[in-house]
């Protein structure tokens, strides 16, 4: 188990290094003149040169690359071009606020979609199964901001059931905060319902066809007992993997959802940085989300290995 963990960690670090290299290439190699990119085509050349001097972007690319990798290792992503303060605390604060929204979305979508996937698998190829699969495919293909818009119009504006802005008043208690976050969370939950339900369904169907389930049924276990003791443990392996992947991707969709619902989290921070061409802020944001993704998939792999010794043994070989 320790060797497996170490192997995964090393691979994760290599991926992180490659990821930082990709981001460096986008921000430092694609634009031939970073100062010009930030100030636009009409700025006088002296101003551009002065900005490049101040940002250190007039140094040769290998020097800048070494600098950015040192920055990654020491967790120093530089200062914001806009407010001059270190970007990492600002990004982490924003990620924290978004995490509240993301957690609520996952809390809604995970139980519902696993239940729907199990139900569909038990009724394979019957009407309920087809309906769940079709609904999953359909709902997961709609962008979050579109679902959000439709929810705002129907639930917020027409029925007036829930607030249409996500930010609760200052010092609001938890139920009030949740009430304000409910609509955007549902908008995201709807998108991820399809992926998780389909994975659960596929995993369960696989397991239901296996010999050991037939044995369990023949030795007289009730359906509920078989499901709990034998099916779930194995069927949820692909589900856990897909949830981990979605936790990282959630932070892509959250940008648009936060814009629709005017919520001050990761999305708002990234969009503001994008408007002001605040490259250190954007860079730190992308890398932090990359780390979130990798930690989530690592944790998922460990859970899977712990749940299913066969996978663990195979990985160790």
């Amino acid at each position: 188990m320790v060797r497996y963990l170490l192997r995964r960690l090393v691979l994760g670090l290599i991926t992180l290094w490659l990821l930082a290299t990709i981001v460096f290439a986008i921000t430092n190699i694609l634009p031939t003149d970073v100062g010009r990119t930030i100030l636009g085509p009409f700025a006088p050349p002296e101003t551009v040169a002065a900005l490049n001097e101040r940002l250190g972007t007039n140094r040769p690319i290998p020097v800048r690359y070494a600098d950015s990798i040192v920055g990654l290792v020491t967790l120093n992503f530089g200062d914001s071009f806009v407010n001059g303060q270190a970007v990492l605390p600002q990004v982490l604060g924003a990620v924290g606020r978004s995490a509240k929204l993301a957690a609520l979305a996952l809390l809604i979508t995970i139980p519902l979609s696993i239940a729907a996937g199990l139900y569909a698998a038990r009724r394979r190829d019957q009407f309920a199964d087809r309906a769940i699969v079709l609904a999953g495919v359909t709902l997961s293909s709609i962008p979050e901001f579109v679902t959000g818009t439709i929810l705002v119009v129907v639930v917020g504006v027409q029925l007036k059931l829930l607030p249409v802005l996500a930010t609760a008043p200052e010092n609001a208690d938890l139920p009030t905060q949740i009430r304000f976050l409910l609509l955007p969370a549902v908008a995201m939950a709807i998108v991820y319902f399809g992926y998780i339900a389909r994975m659960t369904r596929a995993g369960t169907i696989d397991v239901l066809q296996s010999d050991y389930i037939r044995t369990a049924t023949m030795k007289g276990l009730t359906t509920l007992q078989t499901m709990r003791r034998h099916v779930l443990r194995n069927a949820l392996v692909p589900t856990i993997a897909v949830i981990a992947v979605q936790i990282g991707y959630l932070f892509g969709g959250i940008i648009a959802v936060e814009k629709i619902f005017n919520y001050n989290g990761m999305g708002a921070t990234m969009l503001y940085a994008a408007q002001r061409k605040d490259l250190p802020m954007l860079t730190a944001g992308v890398i932090v989300i990359g780390i979130v993704y990798m930690v989530a998939t690592l944790v998922a792999d460990l859970i899977i290995a712990w749940m299913n010794p066969r996978i663990r043994l195979e990985a160790e070989r």
Binding site: T138, S141, G248, F251, I255, A274, L279
Partner: protein, 305 residues
Amino acid sequence: MDPSASIAAGQGLPPAELPVEAIPSSRAQRASARRERLALLVKRPAFLIGAGVMVFWIVCAVLGARITPYDPFNGFSLGRQPPSAQHLFGTDRIGRDVLSRVMVGSRDVLIVAPLAALLGVFIGTLLGLVMGFYRGIVDDILSRIVEAFLALPVILVALLTLVVLGSSSLVVIFVVGILFAPIVARTVRSAVLSERQLDYVEAARLRGESGPFILAREIFPNVLGPTIVELTVRFGYAIFTVATLSFLGVGLQPPSPDWGLSVSQEYTNMISGIWWPTFFPALAIASTVIAINLIADSLQSVMNE
């Protein structure tokens, strides 16, 4: 392994698995298999609904302002009128007919998204073929790079890249296409991995065919099915991505009547009850992505049958 045995096994395969030139009748057989699949496809209601919706939007995109009730760009009347008999979908903040704008709003995204999907599938298929076939160090290195790309949400990296490069339709196509390539590469790679173990590849090798030739003429035709499914799926995601980027202000640019852009220009008025200029473009996006996914899903099940 005894070479003669594996060649014999190669001949035992259905003719469709062998090069087209070798057996003339295989072309006819392939064509008939294709007709059969098409017949299966048009029997599926999900496919018909999806295709119907897409035909509608393509007709709107091609005919544009010639079939809209009002001028979508300069037909100004009173702003912010709710839906009525004159303006079925109401008017937007500067008095343009929302229905007319929604009808022509399909044009830009239906050019940009398919091109982005095509680019992504093209690069991704090349990468996937090479990774799956050659394995070894090439595969290891490329796999790690693919993994690094997959760790990032497409929207976030696209946002960063478009900020750096500036937004234009061409840049959007390239950025989305390149960000889709690793996802496609992974799918194609696993399809190639299962193909390369089959006897016909061994047979081709024993015939002395070169690696690139085997890849292009033997393996590629056999992974074409998953590649086509991947193309339709990517097309759906390209619409998803381009619409989101336009909504975020870094995708298609004004004065395009693009749906995502319309939502971004009008959504702040939803709270004051002016929902129609946002709601109808949003529904248009939903109808398009659902239609493409219905088509992709039907294709996938027909291919698997």
